[in-house]
């Protein structure tokens, strides 16, 4: 189940200053890149789509996902997945429990849930990791668990908040292609926020600033 993510005149103001102005659509399997220096409003744009903006900001415009207006929905009802700069795995849960947390209640029965988690671990080359403490995993393994956790929640769109910037150079390309290929396979519209031109090139989609201007790479 995929569809288009539309930002219709989405503007965010902090006081009088406009920090985000986006009017565009992201097709299924397409990765839109928002690029800019730190503090330019990239993460604010994601928070507006996610529904987690602090009250200090004022928002205009609409966010439409698969034809559904999600502008005023609380974050947990938007079905928008999010990957952070860090993996943000829940430290008190095992790898398997982290994945199970994301699995929708519609997947019923202990065996079915267990099977879904094992399948996700297999897909990330992490077979047999369910009982592990996330703190004992390598950076690359943690990043993969974080992505699989996000996908298990069956989102209709994906937001990537500089998810590769903390990884070291050797790991970076590998995790990036893993994430991007999963996005394309699942046919999800995705928005990537980054300050790294290499990420934008790999994403392959349009590249804009938080204020909507096209960015030349």
């Amino acid at each position: 189940m995929t569809g288009v993510l539309e930002l219709q005149g989405l503007c965010v103001y902090h006081g009088a200053a406009q920090v985000v102005a986006l009017d565009l659509a992201v097709a299924p399997g397409e990765v839109l890149t928002i690029m800019g220096p730190s503090g330019s409003g990239k993460s604010t744009a994601l928070a507006a789509v996610m529904g987690t903006l602090s009250p200090a900001f004022r928002t205009e415009g609409r966010v439409i996902l698969m034809g559904r207006d999600i502008t005023t929905l609380p974050a947990h009802q938007r079905r928008v997945g999010l990957l952070f700069q860090d993996d943000v795995l829940f430290p008190h849960l095992s790898v398997g429990e982290n994945l199970a947390f994301a699995l929708p209640p519609s997947v019923k029965g202990r065996q079915a849930r267990r099977a879904a988690i094992d399948a996700a671990l297999d897909a990330a080359d992490l077979s047999g990791f369910a009982a592990r403490d996330p703190a004992t995993l390598s950076g690359g393994q943690r990043a993969r668990v974080a992505l699989m956790r996000t996908l298990l929640a069956q989102p209709c769109a994906l937001l990537l908040d500089e998810p590769f910037s903390r990884l070291d150079a050797s790991l970076r390309a590998q995790i990036r292609s893993f994430v991007l290929s999963r996005v394309r396979n699942e046919g999800l519209p995705a928005v990537l926020v980054t300050h790294d031109a290499e990420d934008a090139v790999a994403a392959g989609g349009p590249v804009v600033s938080p204020l909507g201007q096209p960015v030349a790479l």
Partner: protein
């Protein structure tokens, strides 16, 4: 969002729970003092002990506060960053959890004419074969009372200083000031102290208000002819003739005024101290010679206050298992469990009541505090400085000033003498401590976890129960242990709201203190101390056990 609606009300409900009892209690105290031609007030003024009792309240309270603050600051200034400092940090929680009554009883055992200190030096040094006839305990100047207060307030202020220090950038400021030529103590006083004290002010005011009006400590250690004003008020309260009640109310109002006066004087001296500091800084204070002296004084004062507390408690423990123990033997001739066995049925039932009251007050306080903090997080509320003052209100207004009024309310409503009513009264004091203990850790929680959870489709309440609560389990349990310790240690609310019919370990220990059965006092006081200690131990053990396979949940991270 029905839960959201309820949750939104939690902060206001909590503030009301703190303000209403204090305000209503004060009102209930003022009215009897001035009713019937101010009969109570006139009886109070006719009491010959009044000037001395009032002065004692001021002198012991101000001296205890100034000394506690000085010792705390000296310890922080000269030991910050050393190994000794880390050691003190570890000793703090257990020392803090000792109820005031147990600390006072232990100290009494230590310094009494027949206590450990005299025994240690007798008869070889003193020639005493019998306990000397000296008024060490209950001395007329309130010196033992002041010492007792200091042993309990230093750990409290030290903990508050520890919480404030990370926000004051201590290490860098001291380094900079020292590189400019100042000695260590001078560097601390000029570069760290002003911002540290700004955050210590409310706790210091609370210490001042408490020290001036302490009841159970003053009953055990304080002067007796006359008693301190607060103790006398409690005695009047217990007067079977109802005339005492009006006098007690008038005394309580005077006590409140005295605390107000002392706070005013304290704030005035803060101003003077600020000018002095600016003058010293401009004069280029170096004071290198002060450093070794200060360090020495700090170590001695710290060792003295904690040592007195620890030795006193050890004395309680030994007495509770002592067989024959004659003066001047340092240790009993034999050890026996007879006291414990004989008192066991009473200890169990009294301990059960104590635990039940503490459990209810702590559970309700914890639920309210969690609701407040969660509401603050979900609705992005910013608590103002007014909220902090309200939180401190029950600690700043003397218990003896508003509990008498509250007792009248309890009497009228028929709630007096029921353990649930006692528990509710405890909540007024438990709640602030639970909040102060839990809030920093709760607010420091990584809020990206909440965003991650919601992005996975989890409702805010699922995020709370499955992610946030387990992740802050350690501070939650510590706050619960703090709350439990506060409840176990409450004397006056238990006595007044319980109408003398609810017996807890604390009221029993204080009641026994006037009698001579040291073995039984030892047993009660020890149990009174063990309950909170068990709470703190559980707060450490349970998370360690639950998360033993989760490296990301270890203390360091």
């Amino acid at each position: 969002m029905s839960t959201g609606g309820l949750l939104r009300w939690a902060p206001r409900l909590t503030l009301a729970l703190l303000v209403v009892p204090v305000a209503a209690g004060l009102l209930g105290t003022v009215i009897p003092a001035f009713s019937q031609d101010a009969k109570g007030l006139r009886a109070l003024l006719d009491w010959p002990g009044l000037p001395r009792a009032a002065i004692l309240s001021l002198t012991t309270g101000v001296a205890a506060t100034a000394l506690s603050l000085a010792v705390t600051l000296l310890l922080v200034a000269s030991l910050w960053g050393t190994r000794a400092f880390a050691l003190i940090q570890h000793m703090l929680a257990p020392l803090l959890s000792v109820p005031h009554a147990a600390a006072a009883l232990g100290l009494a055992f230590l310094i009494a004419p027949s206590g450990w200190i005299v025994r240690l030096v007798s008869p070889w040094a003193t020639g005493w074969a019998l306990p000397p006839d000296l008024l060490i305990l209950n001395d007329p100047y309130g010196l033992s009372l002041t010492l007792g207060l200091v042993t309990k307030e230093v750990p409290f202020l030290f903990l508050m200083a520890l919480a404030a220090l990370p926000q004051t950038d201590v290490t860098r400021r001291i380094n900079v000031a020292q590189s400019l030529g100042a000695g260590r103590v001078a560097a601390f006083v000029i570069s760290v102290f002003p911002s540290l004290y700004r955050q210590l002010r409310l706790p210091v005011y609370a210490v001042l208000a408490y020290s001036m009006t302490a009841v159970e400590m003053a009953m055990i250690l304080g002067p007796t002819r006359p008693y301190t004003l607060s103790v006398q008020v409690v005695i009047w309260m217990a007067d079977p003739m109802l005339t005492g009640r009006a006098t007690a109310s008038a005394g309580a109002i005077l006590q409140l005024a005295l605390v107000g006066l002392a706070l005013g004087l304290w704030v005035g001296s803060e101003r003077l101290a600020r000018r002095l500091l600016v003058y010293l800084a401009e004069a280029g204070l170096r004071a290198h010679g002060l450093d070794p002296v200060a360090r020495w004084v700090a170590v001695v004062a710290g060792a003295l206050t904690s040592g007195a507390l620890i030795l006193g408690l050890a004395g309680l423990a030994v007495w509770s298992v002592a067989g024959l123990w004659q003066f001047p033997d340092v240790l009993p001739e034999s050890l026996t469990l007879r006291t414990w066995l004989r008192a066991a049925p009473d200890l169990v039932s009294t301990g059960g009541v104590t635990l039940g009251i503490a459990a209810l007050a702590t559970a309700l306080s914890l639920a309210l505090v969690l609701a407040c903090l969660e509401a603050e997080h979900r609705f992005a509320l910013l608590p103002g400085s007014g909220a902090l003052w309200v939180l401190y209100l029950p600690l700043l207004v003397p218990q003896v000033a508003f509990l008498p009024g509250l007792q009248i309310a309890a009497l009228r409503s028929g709630a007096e003498g029921h353990w649930v009513a006692v528990s509710a009264a405890h909540m007024v004091f438990v709640l602030p401590y639970v909040f102060l203990s839990l809030a920093p850790a709760y607010r420091a929680w990584d809020s990206r976890i909440a965003v991650a959870g919601m992005a996975l489709g989890a409702t805010p309440s699922r995020v709370f129960w499955r992610l946030r609560l387990p992740m802050v389990l350690r501070p939650v349990l510590t706050a619960a242990a703090v709350g439990g310790a506060v409840s176990v240690g409450q004397y006056l609310p238990t006595l007044l709201i319980g109408g003398g019919r609810i017996e807890t370990l604390t009221t029993e220990a204080v009641a026994l203190s006037s009698g001579g059965n040291r073995r039984l006092i030892g047993a009660y006081a020890l149990l009174q101390m063990i309950l909170p200690a068990v709470g703190f131990a559980l707060a450490l053990l349970v998370p360690a056990l639950l998360f033993r396979n989760r490296r990301g949940m270890s203390v360091a991270s």
